[in-house]
């Protein structure tokens, strides 16, 4: 060995030689052509015959250099590296080892790397432990990758390889997302920077081009006292959960459409009965020469034509078939807007309208126009209920609360309230208690908008004791719709 031979005296040479042989881990010296020029006893024991062979043939039984070779990097920049790899031992068994690749410079040079010293140690003391570790790594039901500081994948488990293909040596961002540069807000970057665990919700692209939704957590991989050389990325695939979530929202949407169509048919049939009646009375009046009867029939016809016009107008506005246009808004602003809009109208009828904001709600992805319509409907209904209730000290409160998991809007009043029968009908038919003053579409529209946001509307009320409407939006659903919306926008 050249460096050893340069040491002065045969005594020292002998000491270095014995030290080299007896070190309790595998050592191999590699030249620029991947030839193993020397190796110690442990190396021979672990990997077998090495004389006259290439490192990749001995370590991994390959017939060409590995995709990512730490020695090539060390030859190129003279910097030592930590390695972490799976090789094949002398008996053909898979063996996981970690090691260091250290440059040996030509005499008198600090830049010309002549050899690379590879010192490796198998990770497991026993074959069983190693095998169990490997099974756990490959079979655990999530994706695991280890990336180096250049964001190249140095290891990936079986689940990951199945969905993303053969990825060793590729950049994580090109594998996960088919990008040519690092992602914004990358959790691995944060972990490399602060050594802490980070989490993020992401959408990637599988090897067949399919969308893969996953939640990734990144943690540092470093040996005591050393800087973070690698980051482990563990991702849970939530694609199926996302799909189910979308299906639930779609089913609820379809159920709402079904109920709406049934309600519409009911209203139209009643209008047709009115027209049929009007026609009959006019004809009878003409036959009898009874002008009063003709007038009565004509009024009935007129009333039902007007009803048709209002129904069609309201229904067109109700049936605007669109997905909610979600954008990040401050929920408290939506509440203040409605309260400011209705405060004077309410005050004129002696009703106090109040806003209540609980737990400073965070921004949320909502369709501001849609939520405005919902709150407008609920507040105007609440004011009407107070007018019918006709009691002193009438009050309507619009409240918003953030529980972290849910965003909740509430509209309460101390007006006339509703009994059980009415409560059963308000969201399911074109129901109105306002006679010819309403089409019964207000709460249906409200419910439709709420369902399009993946939310739920409910009511608590008793006759004479006011009403309490509650709209609850699960934040996870809002987020899921928001991400879908953004992806759809990009696709178009």
């Amino acid at each position: 060995m050249d460096s050893a031979k340069s040491a002065s005296g045969r005594g020292k040479d002998l000491i270095y030689r014995q030290l080299f042989q007896q070190m309790p881990f595998c050592i191999a010296v590699i030249d620029r052509d991947y030839n193993i020029v020397d190796a110690n006893r442990d190396f021979s024991d672990q990997f077998g015959e090495w004389q006259g062979r290439k490192c990749y043939a001995v370590y991994k039984h390959l017939n060409q250099p590995c995709d990512r070779c730490p020695s090539v990097d060390v030859f190129s920049d003279g910097q030592a590296r930590a390695t972490d790899a799976v090789g094949v031992d002398r008996d053909g068994r898979s063996t996981h080892y970690v090691g260091h690749s250290i440059p040996i410079f030509a005499e008198g040079s600090a830049a010309d790397v002549k050899y690379v010293l590879e010192m490796t140690r198998t990770v497991a003391g026993t074959g069983n432990w190693q095998q169990e570790y490997q099974i756990l790594f490959d079979r655990v039901p999530c994706y695991i990758t280890i990336i180096d500081r250049d964001y190249r994948i140095v290891r990936a488990n079986e689940a990951f390889r199945e969905n993303f293909g053969d990825v060793i040596g590729l950049y994580c961002y090109e594998v996960y997302k088919r990008r040519s540069s690092r992602c914004d807000n990358c959790p691995a970057t944060k972990t490399f920077r602060d050594g802490k665990l980070h989490r993020a919700s992401q959408t990637g692209t599988g090897k067949s081009g399919q969308d893969i939704h996953y939640v990734v957590s990144t943690s540092p991989l470093r040996r005591t006292g050393e800087e973070i050389a690698h980051v482990i990325e563990i991702s849970t695939d939530v694609t199926a959960t996302r799909k189910l979530e979308k299906q639930v929202i779609e089913t609820e949407r379809l159920a709402a459409v079904g109920q709406t169509v049934a309600g519409l048919a009911h209203s139209i049939k009643n209008i047709l009965m009115g027209l049929e009646g009007g026609k009959y009375i006019v004809s009878l009046g003409i036959k009898k020469g009874d002008s009063e009867m003709i007038n009565e029939g004509w009024e009935m016809l007129d009333r039902n034509f007007t009803k048709t016009t209002s129904l069609v107008r309201d229904f067109l506005s109700f049936s605007k078939g669109r997905l909610p246009e979600l954008k990040m808004v401050r929920p408290a602003d939506l509440v203040s807007e409605i309260v400011n809009l209705y405060r004077d109208i309410a005050a004129q009828s002696g009703i106090t309208l109040k806003a209540e904001v609980v737990d400073s709600p965070r921004e949320a992805p909502l369709d501001p126009d849609g939520i405005h319509t919902c709150l407008t409907n609920l507040v105007s209904n609440a004011i009407d209920a107070c007018l019918i209730g006709d009691q002193k000290g009438s009050e309507v409160t619009v409240r918003v609360e953030d529980t972290g998991e849910k965003l909740i809007f509430e509209v309460s009043d101390n007006g006339s309230g509703m009994d059980y029968d009415i409560k059963q009908k308000i969201f399911t038919t074109f129901f109105t208690t306002k006679g010819s003053g309403g089409t019964g579409l207000g709460l249906l529209t409200t419910r439709k908008i709420v369902q399009e946001h993946g939310g739920k509307i409910s009511v608590e009320s008793r006759r004479g004791e006011g009403a309490h409407f509650r709209i609850a939006f699960p934040r996870q659903r809002l987020l899921s719709l928001y991400q879908t919306g953004k992806e759809t926008a990009v696709e178009h």
Binding site: A262, L272, M273, G277, G278, Y280, L284, D421, I422
Partner: protein, 125 residues
Amino acid sequence: MAKKKILIVDDEPDVVKWLTILFENNGYDTASAFDGSEGFAKACSDCPDLITLDISMEGESGAKMYKKLLENETTAEIPVIMLTGASPKLDEFLARMRGSKRPAAFMEKPVTDSQLLDKVTELIG
């Protein structure tokens, strides 16, 4: 011979007005009610020969009133024409009525004057 009496129960004022004129012009007496509870009270007090009954009403429903009619001795035999605007409501009603005496007729809105008169004549002459 005394005129036969028809009780019209519907929450739509225009329907009540039309049927009242239609039946009276064709030789019947009428009474009317706007929900199930008022309808049942009139069925007991006026002893009508036939009832036209809307299923879905704002107050007490037609289904509930029909059940009360069956449970009452003086009203159980009165023929009832169920008028319905919404098919799902009818299915729901039929499911609930399984095992009980069925109404004399079902008619789905909108009905014409001749369809309704034909049915009434068939039932009470």
